[in-house]
Symmetry: D2
Subunit: 364 residues, 4 copies
């Protein structure tokens, strides 16, 4: 009787999202086992002593030590964004497969460095965790798209709307977030890249333009950021994506996407709801929606862990390639720049930013 081969994982970072990832690999990914976990944070270590150690997970407060854990094969990185890239590179260099929370970095050069390192190690699976790609509704939409149900995907509209958090968290976080287009809309950008390449060809950005306002959190302004942002991205060969993100959606998380093709449209989450319950009360009919992205995408995160594990164990391609993940950051950064500069940013067909004049001339 052959025994089951399980992937030996470590979890790096045990904050809100990191703890969830650790739990997913520990309890909800049958073919993986969580053998180690790292956090530099004493409070998080305390949590891990109660919740991970009794299940046989070895805890580390030093990332490099953790990488040396006997038999470790792969790392799930969910530390603060600022160290994602460095830890990913170290893990790759230590010969570990990596699942890294998005974004790799808010800085494009840093992302590219990770890409270079990962490209030099084709034997390792390295994947950036764009969780929406594992959501069953998005997966169904993607399958309908590739099967031709909606013709050629032409326009994509996508939004990331967070519940308003009156604690001031968004302002404190603004210094590190990379801005609303890199932090929130990077998911929507990734969806655009995904759906627009459903014919097998990678879409090429042509222009990016963005505007925004600070409606509630005026403190964001000093970071050049906004709490409501709208961006449009043109791609060469006639495709356009446009995005909205807000930090002030009152009832909860409302992420929605429309993929508009020449023969049909797919809409994901046009009628948001947290479940199948409605209350009929004297004040009308009421329903609730998820309160945060984890409530909305919990099962997608679990599926992400499963698919990453399978890709490593069976030596298959990971479902999200690194080039696309870096491209998503590039586009997010361009939108953020457009927001701050107040002007449209142009790219040539090689993906290099160019001055507007040269593009307009090239048209003649």
């Amino acid at each position: 009787m052959p025994e089951i081969r399980r992937l030996r994982m470590a979890a790096a970072g045990l904050g809100r999202m990191g703890a969830r990832h650790a739990n997913h690999f520990l309890h909800r990914t049958p073919k993986a086992e969580l053998v180690a976990a790292f956090t530099p944070d004493p409070k998080e270590i305390e949590w891990a002593r109660k919740n991970l150690e009794p299940w046989g997970v070895t805890l580390y407060m030093n990332y490099d030590e953790m990488l040396k854990h006997e038999g470790l094969e792969a790392v799930c990185i969910a530390t603060v964004t600022t160290v994602h890239a460095e830890q990913t590179i170290k893990a790759i260099e230590a010969g570990k497969h990596v699942l890294c929370e998005k974004p790799l970095s808010t800085k494009l050069e840093v992302c590219e460095k990770v890409l270079t390192t990962s490209s030099a190690h084709p034997e390792l699976k390295v994947m950036c965790g764009f969780s929406r790609r594992f959501d069953s509704s998005y997966l169904s939409a993607y399958n309908l798209t590739t099967s031709g149900s909606i013709g050629r995907p032409t326009i994509l509209r996508s939004q990331t709307c967070d519940k308003y958090d009156p604690s001031g968290f968004f302002v404190q976080y603004a210094e590190f977030s990379g801005g609303i287009f890199v932090d929130c809309n990077v998911h929507d950008i990734d969806l655009a890249l995904w759906f627009f390449s459903s014919d097998g060809k990678r879409p090429k950005i042509k222009s990016a333009m963005a505007v925004g306002v600070t409606a509630l959190e005026s403190g964001l302004e000093e970071h050049g950021d906004v709490d409501n942002g709208i961006g449009i991205v043109e791609f060469y060969d006639g495709q356009i994506a446009y995005f909205y993100s807000t930090r002030m959606n009152p009832p909860g998380q409302h992420d929605m996407t429309e993929i508009i093709g020449t023969k049909g449209k797919l809409s994901v989450n046009a009628h948001p709801t947290a479940g199948l319950l409605e209350s009929h009360l004297p004040s009308g009919i009421h329903r609730e929606i998820p309160q945060n992205y984890y409530e909305r995408f919990e099962h997608a995160f679990v599926e992400e862990a499963r698919q990453f594990t399978d890709a490593v164990l069976e030596n298959k391609n990971v479902p999200i390639d690194m080039e696309g993940s870096v491209e998503a950051v590039r586009i997010g950064v361009a939108l953020q720049d457009s927001l701050q500069l107040g002007k449209k940013i142009w790219f040539d067909r090689e993906g290099k930013r160019v001055e507007e004049e040269s593009i307009l001339k090239a048209r003649l």
Copy 2:
């Protein structure tokens, strides 16, 4: 460092639903471990050799042997309905906790025998698996009900609508199913008992009446069964539940419930959907719904396994008591009898069936 205490489970029956239960305890219930599994069926054993044994599960083709498995603490029974009761009783007598798929039996006397046995062993947790009680939408509805949001629950409407299966399965199965009200509506009946006891008092049945037709599966008639059934149950003290079930719902599974109180109504699944995707095509707007009860209630089954496990480990009451589960069968049987007799069936306040005249006289 204290090690985690996990409940040592066995799975009995590895058919469609049994295999799912086995997987839930094996992979999706962190505090349980599946140590043994039983099936008398060679095909199912083959499946188990591939899917359970490599995970360290010992397989048995003899139920009594399985009960003797070293260290076994609890059994999940999902064999054919006809042996549920016998196996439950054996497990209890062997000192094991039991989670048994509904219904305990389609025969009331048999159910009552299980109840007697289980009552004699208060140290053991015995629970019948009415999965809907663990669905998040039903749980939210229940919490709103107990918190008084809708006043006194007065009317409950609930339906179980299965996708049409043209294979003739329903006719073959009719001999053992107990009839549509026992097989399908028993879930709806259980919901009525649950919501109507949300004030802490168990509702008492006053009358049952049912009608039905065989619209597509005329073969059901020889079993005294129908493929569309409608039943009404009156309870003493002014509460009424009414039910519908069908074997011919075209797009898939559509189970729906309304709890109507003196101040509000809660509706679960009035707007059925399999996810958050809609297709906008030349022919209109389309969405899909779950194809079967597992697609609809998968997460509820997992939650059921978790809550049962917790109840045993922490020696708490199981969330569904046996008296209610037997009462649900009693009501289902009464509806089935009413269907066949073509008349209303009356109960006195002690739950004993009485002749109509005596009730009508008692009114005077």
Copy 3:
């Protein structure tokens, strides 16, 4: 140039609904002109002096006088239910076409007398106003049914749920209403008769049974009525309709119908809403529903006036025949009787009520 021929109408009864009918014929039915109106009520006459007379409508406080109005061709009767039948008969005998608000009477014998009179005057159009038949959603459902989209209509579920009116109106009104099944569910019964005859054959009632409770308006009990009623009606040849009505729906009017066929189901108003607006607020997502049946069916009433007018002007059959309207009352009365007697009421194939025993014997 031929001038337009317009139907000369009178409106009898100018209460809440009567005033609306008067307005529909006056302002919203181009091919009709309202030439006269009658009410015995001084307050209503005052309203009419302001709202009808300036448009050239002659007012009457004597019904018989109104019938003698020069050139009058047809009457729309929306007086109190108790005089519907008498006024309808008088109008017919005066040679006028009649559109009468439902129900003709809450008493079956009276209905039948109207039917006899109307049958004796085949040259006159006489129609009972079951407004839902003119609602665009019901019309679409009916067209899909007759076109075979759902196979044979087998089960019909329909409900009439009124917003709770705390004024005590329902209790005062109970003396005249005929009871909840005659007053509310008569619409649902009419729908069952309509959809079940979509193959051209009129369905024949086989049994009726009903139960109910008085949850909020205990004063209804002395009238033998309830504020929540549930009824089931079996028809010969394998069709069943079941009904619910309540006087205590908190958010407003929620009338809903499902027509369940052997190949598909049509649902009307499963997702009730007053329009296309939803509010996303910190407390969740909210929408409103119509507050009363007129808000829900306003356009259906206008369409009813138009179709009645056309039928008269073009000498076509009216869309609702009198036999069916009387049959709806017969069924409503049977349900009300079943509610009070606590037993099932049986009919033979000729539509005569029979004792249960004879039916059960006939089965042998």
Copy 4:
């Protein structure tokens, strides 16, 4: 007894929409009477001979003659867009009130000329027919906005999505339409101006930028137009509107708007449907949506006629002022220019277009 005073209207243009307007004033606006109608088109005259003349409407094939019709008080102009402005000016100069179909003109200078003329005649009511403002869902949204339910309206998203018409009509029409932003999104722009002035202050445009593609109708390119357009408009003082329009929506007309405030969001038509019917079939659940803007907004058009009539008869302000209607065209033209120039267009606080550099300098 005072007789009713009714407004004597003429209808100019009896094409598809013009015929509807004529009917609305003739049959569905009680306080108006249609006394005259004009069309230069022989086919339309033929229609009018059958449908208007028998109701007493005098027909004209010369617009100037029609203006001289005895007793005429107001004109509803629904001729081809290219003559809207000229006919409006003539009507004003002849002392008639005017309800003119949108847009006044696709040329800004022409719109301004109408504005000048109308300003010189404050005794006359002149209104441009932005029909959505009279839709009950938009009206409810507006009332919730002015009552403060959603805080300060900050972002507005609005789309106009037409059913795909494979006849090539859109290409033929492109020469006169003014382009997709002027023809379609002018409604959405008007909504932005309406909701953003709900605090009593008129919003001032700061920038406009647009992109688009021709996905299906390549013939549009020679007119500088597209079949899918996306535009963003910034207003001074922190408000942004963004728009989408398409000529290729497969299931029908899907116009949708979200008004996003600092405390809540209102969504109009997120869950589009043509009525309250859904079909549950083997292929899933289906519903239809309106096939064109008239199916969606029929009742709004009738309400528009009613409100215009009331404003004239009672000498009240018309609900839509001319300045705003001209501003909507100005913004539409700016978006169309941005589409063609490939750059963002800036406005100073006085509403004058300025070069980008001057704005960017002004920031320093």
